[in-house]
Symmetry: D2
Subunit: 248 residues, 4 copies
């Protein structure tokens, strides 16, 4: 008690001289800016890119049990050698489980078969909450529009840089996604945000997503709750592996 | 020309019916939402955590040539076996080169020698722009205040989770740092921001830094320009290796 | 249909030449970037500062029926001449109704009786959601700490400028407040934000509130839902009038 | 000194019990969270909507001296009765002075002559930095696309509500505009932001502007420095008065 009184006298006398300089810091105690909270423990993976202890593993290399087609049927894409491949014409697949804010790790590989150019070369897509797409495309050699390359929030934000690896090479996205927040009347209050690394290189820095991905016209938010992670069948045999999410 | 006129007529007629639904998207052309820009190429590292082609390597495992003490003298910390160790009492070191916005990769290892508890166990710190500290501490077993753990923006933001590895194990930070922006009169217009991963696990998500790290009292921004990356000598033999930055 | 095909040919031919320049905009139709939505009508007040048609009027000049003390009892502050006055020792008052995101208009007047200096002169406070305080103080002549002046988010952000009027003059706050958003586990996902004008002059620009106002130590968010607007009895006879909020 | 030692002992003993609860606040001194800075004085206007003491008045009711056409010639729009009117066919006008971040107040009035419908009724526009348009339109009765109404960031963000007054009535915008910030290589680092009130009602809340206003196609940022405030000649006799800005 005595000590506190003494300190206050000290700091009052300091006031007139320290104006514009902050207080005389020597008279302050460091404890006032400590925050005491319990922080949850998470065990990181032994290897970089591996799933931490609190992650939901969405593909362990052997089974697509966590995935279904949009009509609810079992995922018909092909699993082989620890990865799975888009099966043309079967349609998109999505996770049975739904998510809000997530940290997502996902690896993909573009094929060499060039079935077209621009948007027809190794095209697929990763839709956060079934709506917000980060593009998957063989952008190593292909020329296309900037907001349609790998690393782009499709038809919205071009990637900061083109950090693609060649086709037939595994590539990795590490993504922080914050789901949009809607008012009770269904109006978007806080737009979705995304930060993304492609092969360890920053390609999106906390961008505000304009709304659900649209091929034509501007996006407009429509209210929704938790939703699945969706992968696109764009007709090209893109491969995926090592997929996990941590709910944030 | 003819086609454009035709489309406009189409869309005007659509107006009255599509109200509240967005336009009839079939009548729109997808090119209107393409953005054509040249995106710079960056070659990612072959191994995860390695330096991409546009990175500045700040420690290659053999020399501290890129680092000096605050008085400008050559860095006296000890290099051995591909890493370097804080040499107690020599003082902080900083890079010769200065930076603004960066993506930073840096690896560190806490010692086992317990020289104290709480803040005295494996304590060091990484100061972005010589001012904004993300804490380095053996927080695997040690109890301390939440905004003083590894992963914390020191005395500001606790980490989202405790993703520490044990002492004597290498740990990695991957950081996105956006420097503060000041007005011509020196007032902070846009505070610094940081996103950080510890061992691949998100620990800071785009937090707004309050100001330069202060041990006592609240931080207050003071104008500055580009500045060095600084590592703290807190008296504990913390090791560092594999340090690189990409300017954003 | 025919027209669409024609346009696509046009734009493909444009692709090679327009690289890095955006597309040839003449070949695009303007409708693609129109958004058709119904926008709610709000009738603004006839006079500036008056309540718009969708506002909840919290004080109409005659009655404190909308307000209670923290123990639930009727507000004992004194109503006279279209305003009401803090009644020393009766304690804070808060609205019966609770709010989330709001646009708030509130007018206040500091007394001339100087009962002290610094923080003891015309001190009161406006607590959004009972927790996040924008300071009310006679800061026209009084010297106090910057983050304790009128216009400050108390103990957090100083006002951008001192736009105070003298005591015995009505002053007005116009405030945009976005409530914090918490995860299901009670962790803050999106901190509260505030933009504020004092007497028509910007004093806070979309600042991220650190947590509930604390007189001592750092704020720490604790989960809550909708909450009242609270006015502080700090022992000084501050007057209030013309209070309304619009839910956002 | 003695007092500080004593306090630290106190707080260490508190540590074990207060875990997860913040520190025992009674043992902290309030001065540690005070910020002492000099805050500039600004005298607010006597009447609401009037220019504060630090504002640049861009139209005082009598002269367009502060304005020029885009070719540098004197502004030919007509001044009468304390306001000025868009003179069809003379082209846009802009301020001689250039600005960065501003608080802007501007009043406008739509004519009754209906020269068309939708976008042809009382159409003009306010371009911050000659590029980022907040729409001026008689949206009281007219139906048009949501992101083309008064209160809209044109072709980007619809207004939160329609707070229009009828034609022949003065309306007021109060705007906070933060200019975009570009990297040394000309890439946008921080997009422009806008908060806007129409007739005292919030219509834009800190939206991130996508880029310069485009009638066709998506906006793409192109680096620029300080720039003028521009008003659009869209062929309709819109009136303006009481225009001032404060640099932020």
């Amino acid at each position: 008690m005595k000590s506190i009184t003494f300190l206050i006298l000290l700091s009052l006398s300091a006031t007139t001289t320290s104006y514009g300089q902050g207080r005389d810091r020597d008279s302050l105690e460091p404890e006032a800016t400590e925050v005491w909270q319990l922080i949850d423990k998470v065990t990181p993976a032994k290897t970089v890119g591996g799933a931490p202890s609190d992650a939901v593993v969405l593909f362990d290399g052997s089974s697509l049990d966590a995935w279904i087609h949009l009509d609810g049927s079992a995922a018909k894409w092909e699993v082989a050698e620890g990865s799975f491949t888009v099966k043309r014409g079967t349609g998109d697949i999505k996770t049975r489980e739904t998510f809000g804010d997530v940290q997502l790790h996902i690896e993909w590989m573009a094929p060499t078969e060039v079935e077209g150019s621009g948007q027809d070369q190794g095209n697929s897509g990763i839709f956060l909450q079934e709506r917000y797409e980060i593009q998957v495309l063989d952008s190593y050699t292909t020329e296309t529009y900037a907001n349609g390359q790998a690393g782009a929030i499709y038809k919205q934000y071009p990637p900061l840089v083109n950090a693609n690896r060649p086709p037939l090479t595994w590539q990795a996205y590490d993504i922080i996604f914050r789901a949009p927040i809607f008012s009770e009347e269904g109006r978007v209050l806080v737009p979705a945000r995304m930060t993304a690394f492609l092969n360890g290189v920053l390609v999106q820095d906390n961008v505000r997503i304009w709304g659900p991905t649209e091929y034509k016209g501007l996006p407009v938010y429509v209210e929704h709750g938790r939703a699945s992670l969706k992968l696109q069948d764009h007709g090209n045999p893109v491969k995926y592996r090592n997929i996990w999410v941590r709910e944030l």
